[in-house]
Symmetry: C2
Subunit: 222 residues, 2 copies
């Protein structure tokens, strides 16, 4: 069976889980405690990050960007990137927006600072960094809300990897109770649609020891 | 004519310039002072980063990841990603290694901290951050040297976007005099091969006002 090495709250692993499920590609999950720096895992991915996908042929693919592009090339029937060159450019611009800009300005300052820093042995959370994360989240929710108002889905008429990248980051932050959805009605309505998709159900069932999600986390009608 | 909005030392713009030149796609360069936050530029790329590519059809593509994947799909004759799925996964893993991990651990701590921070109005360089950048560069040069010793090019038998991503970051750091090539002979030998490629010449001719590169910067036999 195909295996995805992951951590339950990793936004990059969540994006790949959503992509696999939307493309109806079966896989098994294996939790990888990256802070243990397991030698066999380092051989597959010297960056020691999740996700890593292992195909049934033995092919190991590290890095969520490499995995998502691989899935589009290896299993093209259901595309998550759009059909035209212009659509695909817009999907990828937004994937980069969430995986790079949103991650640097929000996810790292909240999820990484609060959850991962101690596990990785890099000290205690910094309250100034966490404050910056909350401050940055608000304009990001506004931009997302504006996209959701002006288009059917974030990148255009079809649901795409841009929606899954955004939902992956926001769902990880929502699990730790860091998203105030009341600040933007359009963003909230888009996220409710994302949560209702069958591909999303396993993410809503995730539980991490020591961290209880808020009651609305798993509720599509929050 | 096709236009690439760039900054001379941006590693992401340099990667795209190398990709365009290797694929023999003609283009014109336009310097974009991103810190001016020009409204017409923000319309094309709300993230307000370079590079942005404008095709002759008017199609604007923002973000170096989106541009490089677009170029591979729109102009497939000369591929920079390899032919097989496994080759392409390895190229993309390494592009991500340099554009994400190397950037976070080295480029941001040196090029961004020393050159961009003041221009963007985000304060003065932090000497602790710069020290961390130098310390992180050494193991990265070792990994690059190891790849260059065990393969013809970084990702495998053919030159690929992995080489251009790596050379883009290192050439920007080399311009500001931050790379001590004597620490790794294999990395130096690989970089000499990169500098000898015709696509590299325009980068070696770049000059930025107020910053004089070291004498070896433009010399392929450094």
């Amino acid at each position: 069976m195909r295996i995805l090495h992951h951590l339950p709250l990793s936004p990059y692993a969540r994006k790949v889980r959503l992509a696999l499920a939307e493309k109806r590609i079966p896989f098994e999950l294996r939790v990888e405690r990256v802070w243990d720096r397991r030698p066999e895992f380092l051989d597959m991915n010297p960056a020691c990050t999740v996700p890593v996908l292992i195909e049934e042929t033995g092919l190991a693919i590290a890095d969520s960007y490499a995995i998502c592009e691989y899935l589009d090339e290896a299993y093209p029937d259901i595309t998550l990137f759009g059909r035209t060159l212009a659509e695909r450019a817009e999907v990828r611009r937004l994937v980069s927006w969430f995986d790079d800009k949103f991650n640097t300005e929000v996810t790292r300052n909240l999820y990484y600072e609060k959850q991962m820093k101690r596990l990785l042995g890099r000290g205690n959370p910094d309250s100034g960094v966490i404050r910056a994360g909350y401050a940055n989240l608000r304009p990001h929710l506004e931009y997302l809300g504006w996209l959701a108002e002006t288009r059917a889905w974030l990148a255009g008429p079809q649901v795409s990897l841009a929606d899954f990248a955004a939902a992956a980051h926001l769902s990880a932050l929502d699990y730790i109770g860091d998203v105030d959805w009341s600040t933007n009605e359009s963003a909230k309505e888009w996220y409710a649609r994302m949560k209702s998709r069958p591909a999303f159900r396993p993410l809503l069932a995730d539980r991490v020891s020591g961290v209880t999600p808020p009651p609305h986390y798993a509720d599509p009608d929050f």
